[in-house]
Symmetry: C2
Subunit: 533 residues, 2 copies
Amino acid sequence: MSSAPKRIVVLGGGFGGVYAASFLEKMLRPEEAAIWLVNRENYFVYQPMLAEVISGSIGLTDVVSPIRRLCPRTQLVMREVEEIDLQNRVVAVSPGFRPRRLELPYDYLVISLGGITDFHGMPGMVEHTLPFRTLADAIILRNRVIHALEEADVETDPEFRRKLLTFVVGGGGFSGVEVVAELNDFVRGVARHYPRLPREEIRTVLVHSGERILPEMDEGLALFAQTLLSKRGVEMRLKDRLVAATSEKALLKSGGEIPAKTIVSTVPSAIAPVLKRLDCTKENGRLLVDEHLELRGYEGQVWVLGDCAFIRTASGKPVPPTAQHATREAHIVATNIRAAMGAGQRAAFRFEGLGKLGALGHNSAVAEILGVRVHGFPAWLLWRTIYLMKMPGLNRKVRVAADWFNALLFPPDLVQLSVHRASGIAEQHFAPGEVVFNQGDLGDCVYVIRKGECEVLREKEGAQQLLAVLADGDYFGEMAVLSDTSRNATVRARSAVDVLLIPKADFNKLKTTVPAFGEVFRALAKSRAPEPE
Amino acid sequence: MSSAPKRIVVLGGGFGGVYAASFLEKMLRPEEAAIWLVNRENYFVYQPMLAEVISGSIGLTDVVSPIRRLCPRTQLVMREVEEIDLQNRVVAVSPGFRPRRLELPYDYLVISLGGITDFHGMPGMVEHTLPFRTLADAIILRNRVIHALEEADVETDPEFRRKLLTFVVGGGGFSGVEVVAELNDFVRGVARHYPRLPREEIRTVLVHSGERILPEMDEGLALFAQTLLSKRGVEMRLKDRLVAATSEKALLKSGGEIPAKTIVSTVPSAIAPVLKRLDCTKENGRLLVDEHLELRGYEGQVWVLGDCAFIRTASGKPVPPTAQHATREAHIVATNIRAAMGAGQRAAFRFEGLGKLGALGHNSAVAEILGVRVHGFPAWLLWRTIYLMKMPGLNRKVRVAADWFNALLFPPDLVQLSVHRASGIAEQHFAPGEVVFNQGDLGDCVYVIRKGECEVLREKEGAQQLLAVLADGDYFGEMAVLSDTSRNATVRARSAVDVLLIPKADFNKLKTTVPAFGEVFRALAKSRAPEPE
């Protein structure tokens, strides 16, 4: 080996990336290798327990561990990966406090960037559904659920209240099942603090494309889970799936609709755009690697693992995206980097999995461990024990154990931890027939139609009068914002409509500082002003 | 009493509001009174422990309690107070999921809206300093501090790194001292996880207008606190105060400057605009009440307490804004509402205070209890015991005690819990001579000058060439954003400058949907295009 340490850059701070860095720290001395790790956050998320954040039964930050503590010798870079240059062996990351990219050259590269949620071709899903991958997602979902309960408690319109009290989860795999189980327990558990809420109006719905939930599991266990969740109040919509969403409802493939203000989607998954742009072989939309986890065409330089890699086990089956597989892949990657540096033999990935565990909330779970099937309370104890053992760091183990103990003694908590309120310019999707705003509403934003048709209607002496039809590129809603009054007409979508929404505060700032912008809307408002009555 | 229950509306969920609602629940039966409480959040913040959120020694949500649990019979409305109509006895609150205000009529009104941070006449303070009042403020400050450490760890420019490692706190009262003590302990405590950080570059600075800190306390104790904090590394800037801020530095009244990316201000305080607009007598900027805490002119209808009220004790001294006073005021208010409803006698506020407690971080505090002065570790134990006893709810007591126990065993945590990244259209302030952006930076936003003068400079063959001077209403920075390149010139403030900043993502959305907006910038960019070289 040469005298200068080799630069190893690890992309991603999930199970794959953090364990790879950790194994590298153990296998290579500081004078042999300088290890860098790039991750958007400075913590590692213990994914198997993420759903417990919804109910707050685990402290919000106890489900994550600081990466600097797990990999003390690794240089963490808390930025986004923006570009990977495989030819020149350089990774560019997003700017920090100053608008400058940072470039990280490497000798060896480990890619473990996981998946992203990709709603391509599903109208309104990006704007109106909540993903469930990161700690931020879990906290945002918790906040949304509590906000919906708070609002339902003061809502007098029963139809709107039912929408506030309906929670839809898309995807019946492990993640979706754990989310709907926690969510259902939580909502029904805290409802007693909202005395005016009609409890029978609470609905939790799991939408799943298969004939039964938990396709990864044995059929008997999956049916056990299905029966248990139904008994606890979760509605199942099987052989169906989410295809679109608006702020008022979920639209299903079957043509059905579920009126709801809170929609969570745990499918579908794709690799990050920065990986899509890479010029290398892909399979099933993921980066293809060989059994040594080396990227085709970049053997001895680039390794890929975790959810962004397409790997087959020795038996030929594709590797599922679980923590137990990712940590073992990480060990193979570290071993093979050491081999590339001239020490030891290359290893091949042959792990077939030890078992499967799925939590069902409220002291129940399903498990298949080394061929044995367990369900109910024993499975739940097993689930807790295994995951607590596997959780990295004594500090976290103690905290989580204390949290669980506390959760046994006290009911779930309903603190809504909302850190920001500012919304900013946003996109929205409306289904045909949906109301954008009602006559009499507060004028809180201005709209621009990006695609679709809207009709403008005025209520007068009980009759509804069509004032205008608006289409792509048309503006509306400026009048109430400019004159600081309430809406003088109702706007309704005629077709599926995508709009850009400019909140009043942003609109007013732009209006005063960019006069040409304000002028467009002032002229429009003038031309639309109603005749004096 | 009449047969229909009277409507009592309480505004504010701090010590004053929550304790008033709680006492009312005890003094009046459900058939006598329907109690409503309006608060922006669904939780009550246990203010004395808020600073501990910075270091994470208390779990992020353990310092707050759900209001619904503290006042189970009170109807909580999680909205903002927008208008109080004292004549018609109606309170209007902000919209929820739908753009409609809610109106709450009342028979009796309790106002306990606390204070807000008011930076009127202090340029750049709103944009570039962090307040410290709410749980969200505490979490945002914690995130900022960790972000600054992460960035400092990968920063190669020593001058910029020193700015990242400098933390300035304005105000040497209880709040400012507790914040700077926690912040100093935390930053120095976690620094060992950032091996490349030069620890001697870490600076924490407390700026205070008086001759000594903690003006509320006995001089001996204040000097003890001052010496202790200095020993731990806090710099004191006495007889000085913050007057302005930019993203790069704090500007002081003395003319001094402290280059720093993180500036916290714990002063000054004012009442909320909705209270300022009320047509009633004010003193020292607060609502004047009599010894029965009744609002002048609305006796028997409206009571005011806590930080937004101006109250004198029996001895004639103005009441300080502390929890012990607010809870006692709440009892007087509840008693007097009961009296107004015809039961029992009115009570007058005569409480003079039991003592004062201030935490200094790291197992130290100062206290004056019933005339006895204590400092150091005994005062810290006293501080913990008293506040743990006073904390409402057994659940919280257990959680906080467990947190403290955990904090004794394990070092502070450095998880950065950032829930959102979107920034949106914002305002910024620059001091004369400061650089807005540098030639070569990424083009991440477009600027509009609201006030002041900027110069555009180009570096060419080592020489700096003045290209233009821009003033109020001028745009700049559009070129790099439109052409997706880096900045081709440096822009520097000539005078104090206020700008509106439109982030690239928002700019692009507006450009495509509002053509007139895009046209302004395209024409400008064309007129400014450099000659081919």
